[in-house]
């Protein structure tokens, strides 16, 4: 399956990143590209609990394709959300279901950000995404 264009961009950019500093800088740059969420979107119902930082996730289905928007008050989490959204945006529920997101972060060299530690937010975000998709 061919990658969505933003995902391919992320892969190219992160694959070219030799060290943690460049990766961190890149993550923060990607984080700045997230579409802003309105104050209305930042309601408790859209807040993903289980994150050390605040994360909000909104998912909408349009013509059987999922569109997600997300943000966080922490910059690196925003970057992680951006590369996550780059991979999942516009997929159908079935495609989302079949997607190995751990493998995605692995390919980006960000696998450790999926640590099972409870203070780590990204797993909670993935779980919320699955809940939204499962309806």
């Amino acid at each position: 399956m061919t990658l969505p264009r933003p995902a391919q961009q992320a892969l190219d950019a992160f694959a070219a990143c030799p060290g943690w500093e460049q990766r961190a800088r890149l993550l923060m740059q990607w984080g700045e590209r997230l579409a802003p969420l309105s104050e209305e979107d930042k309601q408790e119902v859209n807040r993903v609990s289980g994150c050390e930082s605040q994360v909000w996730l909104v998912g909408e289905i349009q013509e059987s394709r999922w569109q997600f928007r997300a943000t966080s008050d922490a910059r690196l989490i925003r970057g992680l959300l951006a590369v996550l959204l780059a991979r999942v945006d516009g997929l159908s529920a079935a495609e989302l279901d079949a997607l190995d997101l751990a493998d995605w972060f692995n390919q980006l060299g960000l696998a450790r950000q999926l640590s099972p530690s409870r203070s780590n937010g990204l797993n909670a975000v993935l779980q919320r995404m699955r809940e939204l998709v499962a309806g």
Binding site: W20, S53, R75, L76
Partner: protein, 401 residues
């Protein structure tokens, strides 16, 4: 100036982490273990495991003797009047839950339990839930600006309605010794029971439970350079006698038939089921190891490290210490920088510190903080660990600002 820990080589875990490029500054969460403890753990299993307090056979007797010898060492470590005053649990949290259930019948609606604003969840939630079960009032003692329980206000809050005081000796966020002796005296004057949470305090200096005058003292082995899965609960003999049994099964029973049973007194009556035998025995080895160190040298080393930590933090712009820590740890935030981002970049550089709410959510909320970074020290840390931390901190802040 080098600040080397003469005990670092006694800890294979700290050296293994070192070799992996990891600087361990999270001992307030759990401590690394001395070789002596690892030898004891392996030795117990390698020489033949057996259950305790149940069997006549040789392996059983050997295990029971070693297990009970550890109880004696703990009693000595805390200066309890007798080893009968030491109950083994799974951790500080279980010790405090044991008390909250075991003392429940002593409370009536309207009674008050007094805790402080700095309690971590283990010394808050069991009392909070007991208060909810029994219709009690949970009274919170406020802190002063240094992060110390305000004694003047405490004196007005501890009243004739107070039935129990539960307070931490040393906060895991603020790193400040609390005036527990004075608070216990206030509680005693009102006829209230007193519980000291020694989870952090127990490993920084020796504490004498009889001199403290508390009825109960709870702590964990894993922070005291011992194995995890073991907690300690000291109870003064007369206080233990007031405890109702709370978990049932195994050798805690004296006599059982189908409809009724009678139970043993403390300590065995409060150690239902098979305990963490190997861990209890190995804790004894950790205590032997610690007892063999020059206590003044350990305290001096930790104080020098702590001073260097505080000096390094205060030398940097925008860093806000939480409270005025005196020992072992420092928690801080950085203006305009999210703690989660900072933690992320410290992790990238192999610095193991804690970030978040440190299981003390109400405290951080009351300070208006979503989270903080905590650097905590053990006796095996040295100046080079702090140097690496500060280099990483500067690098992280350079990226984030």
């Amino acid at each position: 100036m080098p600040l080397n820990s003469p005990w670092r080589t006694d800890f294979p875990g700290i050296q293994a982490l070192d070799a992996e490029g990891q600087t361990y500054l999270d001992s307030a969460a759990t401590a690394q273990k001395p070789q002596a403890m690892l030898d004891s753990l392996l030795g117990y299993y390698a020489s033949g495991a057996a259950n305790v307090h149940r069997a006549q056979h040789l392996p059983g007797e050997r295990a029971t003797r070693a297990f009970e010898a550890s109880r004696g060492k703990v009693a000595q470590w805390l200066n309890a009047a007798s080893s009968e005053e030491i109950i083994f649990t799974r951790g500080t949290t279980e010790s405090l839950n044991l008390l909250a259930y075991g003392l429940e019948p002593l409370f009536a609606a309207g009674d008050e339990i007094v805790v402080s604003a700095l309690e971590h969840h283990a010394n808050l939630l069991p009392w909070q839930q007991l208060a909810l079960r029994r219709g009690l009032k949970l009274v919170i003692m406020p802190l002063d600006s240094c992060g110390q329980i305000d004694l003047a206000q405490a004196a007005t809050l501890i009243s004739p309605r107070t039935r129990l005081l539960a307070v931490s000796q040393l906060s895991n966020v603020l790193g400040r010794w609390q005036p527990v002796r004075e608070l216990i005296a206030l509680a005693q004057a009102q006829g209230a029971l007193s519980v000291v949470d020694g989870a952090q305090g127990v490993l920084h200096g020796r504490h004498d439970v009889q001199a403290l005058g508390c009825d109960f003292y709870a702590c964990s082995s894993h922070k005291l350079y011992g194995p995890d899965g073991v907690g300690l609960l000291y109870g003064r003999g007369t206080a233990l006698a007031q405890l109702r049994h709370w978990q049932f099964g195994g050798e805690m029973v004296l006599e059982a038939d189908y409809q009724h049973a009678r139970f043993r007194p403390a300590p065995l009556g409060f150690e239902a089921g098979t305990p963490a035998i190997s861990s209890v025995i190995a804790l004894g080895a950790s205590l032997d190891y610690l007892a063999g160190l020059d206590q003044a040298a350990v305290i001096g080393h930790e104080a020098a490290l702590h001073a260097r930590l505080l000096a390094g933090l205060s030398a940097r712009d925008g860093i806000q210490l939480i409270g005025e820590p005196q020992v072992a740890l420092a928690s801080f935030t950085v203006a305009e920088v999210h703690s989660a981002d900072l933690a992320h970049l410290l992790t990238e550089q192999g610095i193991a510190v804690r970030a978040g709410h440190h299981c003390a959510m109400p405290l951080l909320k009351s300070l208006g903080l979503p989270g903080a970074i905590r650097v905590s020290l053990g006796l095996y840390n040295d100046g080079a660990d702090l140097t690496r931390f500060f280099v990483a901190l500067d690098k992280a802040l350079e990226l984030l600002r």
